[in-house]
Symmetry: C2
Subunit: 395 residues, 2 copies
């Protein structure tokens, strides 16, 4: 059994805070501070430009990918890190569209908006008659057809936590000649993912949520080994070139997943991410999933026993990721009141209060206490104060 009491000691958690927002930004791994200090003092400071070789900076994009690969069921050498998730979505989608003559990109209305925006931007730039079609999540399976070129989905819905059946949808899509792109933003580090077993074509994800890589941590991209040598990168940057330091005039894609690298990688963010990934050593993802479900179920039960809030996530645990949302017409103010009491979740428009469950550092006692505080706030009406209604830029 994974020792979650031990993994909890690896993170800094602020005194008096119950943190139910690791699905937005994971907490600071205690090892990150020393790792950053070392990267600055011993590497950047002392090695300067030679750090690209001596400290191994140049190889880190794919070395980190290899550390993430087992968490998402990917083959070694099939994942590389860098850029942002939006950029990686663009790369995957541009590559997928290049592999098919079909013009329809199918997604769902629960996909994270930036994925849809990147598709819209790519379609506009290409000006080749592509179309983004979005349907309700539960209608994806029935909408698959031989007119669809690419199925682009986020496995776990950022608002409701509803989880697609990756294996079944990938199989159904591929039977119709559709290429699949899976966004794992709310999956990687939240639950077991089986990219290789599911025969996924492309996947992308971020590392600042359940992987605890820090604010603005780099994204990752997966390309199935059966495709990668044929993939034509639209974002053909020098670090994806076969020989970046030959400084050739013409782009030649690098071997394997290396071609999905673009520009100079963010070494300070890499250092923090590398420290964060240490926490996964010895973690069994099935233990993680069981603990996540236990925490989520307990929270739902405690909230429903104490309040009349309406669950906005699937009732069946296996159909959820590692987060739970409730609807409240004044969700924003309720969440601000919760945060003021030290219970940090977040609000998602129009009316959802959202809570993430992260067994690496979250205990059952905290989950129960969070439900108690939520009930107190609703019971007393203390959320209905002007300061809790005032909107800030990021919610």
């Amino acid at each position: 059994m994974t020792d979650f009491a031990a993994t909890r000691t690896l993170f800094h958690l602020p005194e008096g805070m119950i943190y139910l927002d690791g699905n937005s930004l994971g907490p600071l791994p205690k090892a990150a501070q020393a790792r950053l200090t070392q990267t600055l003092a011993d590497e950047w400071g002392e090695m300067l430009i030679t750090g690209w070789n001596k400290a191994g900076w140049m190889a880190q994009a794919t070395a980190l990918g290899d550390r993430i690969a087992p968490l998402i069921g990917a083959e070694p050498g099939s994942v590389t890190c860098g850029d942002t998730l939006s950029i990686k979505v663009y790369q995957a989608l541009a590559a997928a569209l290049d592999m098919t003559d079909r013009k329809i990109i199918l997604s769902d209305t629960g996909n994270f908006p930036s994925d849809l925006y990147m598709a819209q931007g790519l379609i506009g730039a290409l000006d080749q008659g592509h179309e983004l079609v979005t349907v309700a999540p539960e209608r994806i399976a029935e909408t698959l057809s031989e007119d669809v070129g690419v199925l682009m989905l986020t496995e776990v819905d950022y608002r409701s936590g509803r989880k697609h059946d990756m294996a079944a949808l990938t199989k159904a899509a591929q039977a119709l000649g559709i290429i699949t792109i899976w966004d794992l933003a709310h999956s990687a580090g939240a639950l077991p993912v089986h990219l290789s077993t599911c025969n996924a074509d492309f996947a992308v994800g971020c590392t600042y949520k359940y992987l605890n890589g820090g604010p603005g941590a780099p994204a990752f991209i997966y390309v199935a080994p059966r495709h990668v040598e044929q993939v034509r990168p639209a974002l053909s940057g020098w670090l994806g070139h076969e020989a970046p330091f030959a400084f050739d005039a013409d782009y030649r894609p690098g071997g394997g997943i290396e071609r999905m690298r673009v520009g100079t990688p963010p070494i300070l963010q890499f250092a923090a991410l590398d420290a964060a990934l240490d926490a996964w050593e010895g973690v069994d993802l099935h233990d993680l999933r069981a603990a996540s479900i236990a925490l989520s179920e307990r929270f739902i039960a405690e909230v429903e026993a104490r309040t009349d809030l309406v669950l906005a996530s699937p009732r069946v645990a296996e159909q959820r990721g590692s987060q739970v949302s409730f609807a409240h017409p004044h969700g924003y103010a309720v969440m601000q009141a919760l945060i003021a009491r030290g219970v940090v979740g977040d609000f998602r428009a129009p009316n959802l209060i959202r809570f993430g469950f992260t067994p690496l550092y979250l205990s059952e006692e905290e989950v129960v206490r969070a439900a108690e505080i939520l009930a107190e706030i609703l019971e007393s009406g203390s959320w209905d104060r002007p300061e809790f209604h005032a909107r800030s830029a990021v919610t």
Copy 2:
């Protein structure tokens, strides 16, 4: 007069090293360590998700752009930071192509290869008959015509240090209806740049060279205020949306330069960059340019007095950026021998040894000593050892 003895104290420079490679990666600003520690401990660690508001993370991309703007002669609010330089080249080029029906992108053979690669990738993805034409740098002016849609140049050549006349070329291009994109990778922090005065349309640059932002520091992009509200972003990520946290289904570009943001910004890299930019407070860029020329001229004179190396940079200081290259048939080995003696420059294929001059932290004594050591290595033939010929991944 700028006090360069004072700015030197702001950087950590390794004992016994003469660093002539600030044009590849600037040294560690002493303030960066404390800034990172603060960002990790006080912001990420204590504020967690609320750091996006409380610590101002969300506003930093454009706040940092506003700190860079005066260094490149840009209007306030016209620069934003993030991603890599290759991504920013793609954004600028996609936006520029969207503004013209002409199909030719003109660049020169001295442009940094990644800029050309990104153009090739974009052209391939668009599949609309665009063509990248490259000519020798000195032939750019005569090649401008009404067939050219976009002129995409790096102001200072990464190999030779040759500097284009931005004002003259921009004017000549615009007289023919050509849109200009300037890559300032080797200009920002190296010499005065006057984007607004030159009437440039787009500019991009990196911050890890002369701006000392650290390995993988974010890039920046400039869009002329007269264009920005019409620019249609190809990389239409959520942080470039008018209201990112409304989570609308459709992309609507944000106001002004905000629309050139893409995904979640790299906050740890931003912290280091912000610390690095402190060094520019009180620096007069004309003093910087004068000091850079003095250092470069002294180095050329000392090298030519002691060796028969052939200058591969323009002879006239005003035609160079802040770097100087010499040709040597075994340039790679010579540079390795120099590095082994503590003189760090770099090698650029096929045969250039390259030296950057950075008055913020480099003294005339160091420059003279570097020339002496170079002369000793060439005189003794000590560069001709197997260990100096062995290639590593990054040179």
